[in-house]
């Protein structure tokens, strides 16, 4: 074996049948692939939020920042700004990214910072035992809404499109080959890559039969045609049954935020002299 052991010794505590296993599997493949293509895994960082999804930080034997609920993106953004040579990947939950920390998500897209975000969208708060999230369907009976929610879900892809995200895709945990391909493309894309992964929650929102019925793979789709992308994005509103497209909807080539930042000298020479010069101007 040439690569490193990618799984840590931490006990895995996802429920049997949980879609997170598939995402972990695809991430492992992604890392192996990166390594094969010459990226040192020492240069990869994974940032997670809090929730079932976030346990990924414990399970993968790479650099990780196990942050707090909703805050994957500011952490990931700063890591990239601090060291543009790093490949920075975020794993966030739908509660994480679409509720608690939604503004960070929109700003990451707006800035087009060169990081990749995978949303483990099980459409429920898993770890806190099954409350509705912003992508739960109208009327969802969670533990905080026993009579059913009173709000329509958000369509996160539509929101990302409107926020200027330069790579917008949707995966599904029960379509492993496509998920792997999307993930690889997302990391390869220069700019903010957003992947909403429909993830089975075996315990609180297992709608795999619905997904299995409605999903289809985007074929002959021009990812560089925004109008076409929008049309596909609007096909399914995360509420009513409708065909659910999987794959990459949109790619745009825009300068990245980190790329626009002036490159900083590693160790500025004569720091104290410069400080004294500034001070002179106050005399």
């Amino acid at each position: 074996m040439n690569g490193r052991q990618l799984i840590t010794g931490a006990q895995n505590t996802w429920c049997p049948g949980c879609g997170n296993f598939s995402i972990q599997f695809a991430l492992k493949a992604l890392l192996q692939d990166l390594e094969k293509r010459g990226t040192s895994l020492d240069d990869v960082v994974l940032v997670t939020g809090i929730g079932c999804h976030a346990k990924m930080a414990d399970y993968l034997n790479i650099n990780t920042f196990y942050s707090i609920h909703g805050r994957v993106l500011p952490v990931a953004t700063a890591i990239k700004l601090a060291n543009p040579d790093l490949t920075v990947i975020g794993c966030a939950g739908d509660g994480d990214a679409y509720a608690e920390g939604l503004d960070h998500l929109i700003f990451a897209a707006k800035r087009n910072v060169d990081i990749t975000l995978f949303i483990h969208n099980n459409r429920v708060y898993g770890l806190t035992t099954g409350q509705y999230t912003p992508t739960s369907p109208l009327g969802f009976k969670g533990r905080s809404t026993p009579a059913g929610t009173l709000e329509y879900p958000l369509n996160p892809l539509e929101l990302m499109y409107a926020s200027g995200a330069s790579f917008v895709a949707r995966g599904y945990t029960r379509n492993q080959p496509l998920l792997k391909k999307i993930m690889a493309d997302a990391v390869r894309h220069q700019g903010f890559s957003f992947v909403d992964i429909l993830q089975i929650c075996a315990t609180y929102f297992d709608v795999h039969d619905v997904y299995d019925k409605y999903v289809y793979e985007l074929k002959d789709h021009d990812t560089h045609d925004p109008a076409k992308a929008m049309k596909r994005i609007l096909e399914w509103d995360y509420n009513n049954p409708a065909p659910i497209a999987l794959g990459t909807f949109l790619e745009r080539e825009i300068p990245t935020f980190d790329g626009r930042f002036p490159v900083q000298p590693a160790v500025p020479a004569e720091r104290m002299g410069k400080i004294r010069t500034i001070l002179e101007s106050y005399r």
Binding site: T8, G9, A10, S40, D42, D43, V44, V45, V47, I50, K55, A57, D58, N61, I62, N63, T64, F65, Y66, S67, I68, R71, P74, V75, A76, T77, A78, I79, L81, A82, N83, D85, L86, G101, D103, H104, F107, F261, P262, Q264, P265, A266, V267, P268, A269, R271, M272, K274, I275, R276, I278, L279, E280, Y282, R283
Partner: protein, 554 residues
């Protein structure tokens, strides 16, 4: 000893801060030590703004209520500050806007004739002041040349006309001081803080605008690129704190700046800093609350909030400098201490220190401590939270070959993987608290308590932060000892006790309504005999505090 106070006032948006700075630099150039108070409400134009410049032959830290020169851009200034006038006060005003006794200058007309914008009337009134006080033209001219980047010529023309229109007032003559001591730079606490952070090795600064620290953001955003500083102004303060932790995780020395309301939003990330052991420095500028309160005024109300913010128990370093030298030194030291112990630090200051102008003598700052962070040896297998005697684990950053760097806000084991096992949880809680011992140890050799005034006196003023400055002056005037704990967490109780030794009566002086330093010291059985509190947002004027101290000690 000669001492002068000059007030310049007018409408917000008319550049009265800048005008005050020019006046201060003129006085500074004459060899005086200066302090500038700047009072403005929370608005952009209209409303009343004023600066008071005080100049004296020795270091000063406060303004007086009374003024020797009253420079009024409008009627309101004369009315609002009537109580500051005495028989000898020279009033200079824009006679195009105000009819009054004193020296009137047709400033609007002059500005118009010289084709200068309205704001150039300030230049005229300043020139009038120089004329009246006998300050030589070349002092004025050279200051204007330095301070006015645009439209210099028309400003000089205005200045010349106003200068020559005013007869020197013999009784109000301001002499140039003999050049026995060097001219010191004159700047604000925010600028000194920024320079201190840079001296400490700052590589990234992240902030969302909020008075009184916005100007620190503006200052750092403008430093020359070759200082290697990345400055980010993100979507909100939550983003600020989490970005800061991202920078530090990737190896960049980072600080953030805010005030109380923004700090609220940072507390969750602050606690993450404690648990994940990622260093960050918070520049926390106090302004009166609760809530939005009085956003452009000053107070000392966040000591206990800062000391207890964020869930759970972890070590934090808190320092409240009282002057620019302390600000510079401790901003730098906070960065180093944060990195050495992998803890969050808070530099607790306030609008009075952040936005007012003081002299700064970099040569009197003690040498910055050399405190390298503990680096991974690159040989032993890397564990981010290796248990050590000091509680400090070696640092490595992503991209370090062979190190898997896992940081975690959950309770974790040595490698950074989540654990709920009772034994490991206990050891890790002890580890992060143990760092406090090393911190206290390191601080023992540092100037954590300042004693000033009449050092041996029996009656003592006990104060902190920017309020210590005015206490120093009162202490000198009234023959009182002044004791100022600069480091507030861990509080150097022993040194404070030592500094208080032999005191007869101890009176605290604080700019809050509940006595926050007093409460902190009560924990260590240090119980003062009296308290002087002020909570209207305005720092103590020198004479005001003098009177209150006399009363308290009567």
């Amino acid at each position: 000893m000669p001492e002068y106070s000059i007030l310049i006032g007018g409408k917000a948006g008319e550049g009265l801060n800048k005008a005050g700075i020019i006046l201060a630099r003129i006085m500074n150039g004459l060899g005086y030590r200066v302090f500038m108070y700047y009072d403005y409400p929370s608005l952009i134009r209209g409303g009343h703004n004023f600066s008071i410049i005080r100049a004296a032959p020795r270091r000063i830290y406060s303004h007086r209520t009374g003024v020797d020169f009253l420079l009024a851009m409008n009627r309101e200034t004369l009315d609002l500050h009537a109580h500051r006038r005495s028989a000898g006060t020279v009033a200079i005003f824009n006679s195009d806007a105000v009819k009054a006794e004193g020296i009137g200058l047709p400033l609007s007309q002059i500005a118009k004739e010289e084709g200068a914008p309205e704001i150039a009337r300030n230049t005229g009134i300043i020139a009038g002041f120089c004329g009246a006080s006998g300050i030589p033209w070349d002092v004025l001219e050279s200051t204007l040349r330095k301070e006015i980047p645009r439209g210099l010529e028309s400003n000089l023309a205005i200045a010349r006309r106003a200068f020559s229109a005013v007869e020197p007032v013999p009784a109000a003559r301001i002499a140039t001081l003999p050049r026995t001591e060097k001219i010191l730079p004159f700047l604000t606490g925010n600028e000194a803080a920024g320079l201190g952070l840079l001296a400490g090795g700052l590589q990234a600064y992240v902030a969302y605008p909020m008075t009184p620290t916005s100007n620190l953001l503006h200052f750092l955003a403008g430093v020359p690129a070759d200082l290697g500083l990345t400055v980010v102004h993100p979507e909100n303060e939550i983003g600020v704190m989490l970005m800061a932790l991202g920078f530090a995780y990737a190896g960049k020395k980072v600080a953030v700046g805010t005030s109380g309301g923004g700090f609220c939003l940072m507390t969750e990330g602050f606690s993450l800093s404690g648990m994940s052991e990622i260093p960050v420095v918070v520049m926390l500028g106090q302004r009166p609350g609760p809530s939005t309160g009085l956003p452009t005024y000053s107070c000392q109300t966040e000591l206990h909030f800062a000391a207890n913010a964020g869930q759970g128990e972890f070590v934090r370093f808190i320092v409240a400098p009282g002057d620019l030298e302390e600000t510079y030194f401790w901003a730098s030291a906070a960065l180093s201490l944060s990195w050495k112990f992998q803890i969050p630090s808070i530099v607790l200051y306030d609008k009075n220190l952040a936005e007012h102008g003081y002299n700064f003598d970099i040569d009197s700052v003690p040498p910055l401590p050399d405190m390298p962070a503990m680096a991974w040896d690159r040989n032993t297998p890397y564990r981010r939270y290796a248990l050590t005697e000091s509680g400090v684990s070696p640092l490595a950053f992503p991209s370090a070959k062979g190190a898997v760097v896992k940081v975690n806000g959950y309770a974790h084991d040595e490698s950074g993987i989540t654990t709920e096992e009772a034994g490991m949880v206990t050891r890790m809680q002890e580890k992060i608290l143990r760092k406090g011992e090393g911190l206290a140890e390191d601080l023992r050799g540092m100037p954590t308590v300042t004693v000033s005034g009449s050092k041996g006196a029996g009656d003592t003023l006990l104060s902190w932060g920017s309020t210590a400055g005015v206490c120093r002056e009162v202490g000198e005037a009234l023959g009182l000892r002044v004791v100022q704990p600069v480091v507030l967490n861990p509080i150097p109780a022993g040194k404070v006790r030592e500094a208080l030794e032999g005191s007869r009566r101890v009176v605290t002086v604080e700019q809050n309504a509940t006595g926050q330093l007093e409460k902190l010291l009560a924990l260590h059985s240090i119980r003062p005999d009296g308290r002087i509190l002020k909570y209207d947002g305005r720092p103590f004027a020198l004479d005001e505090l003098e009177a209150r101290v006399r009363e308290a000690l009567a």
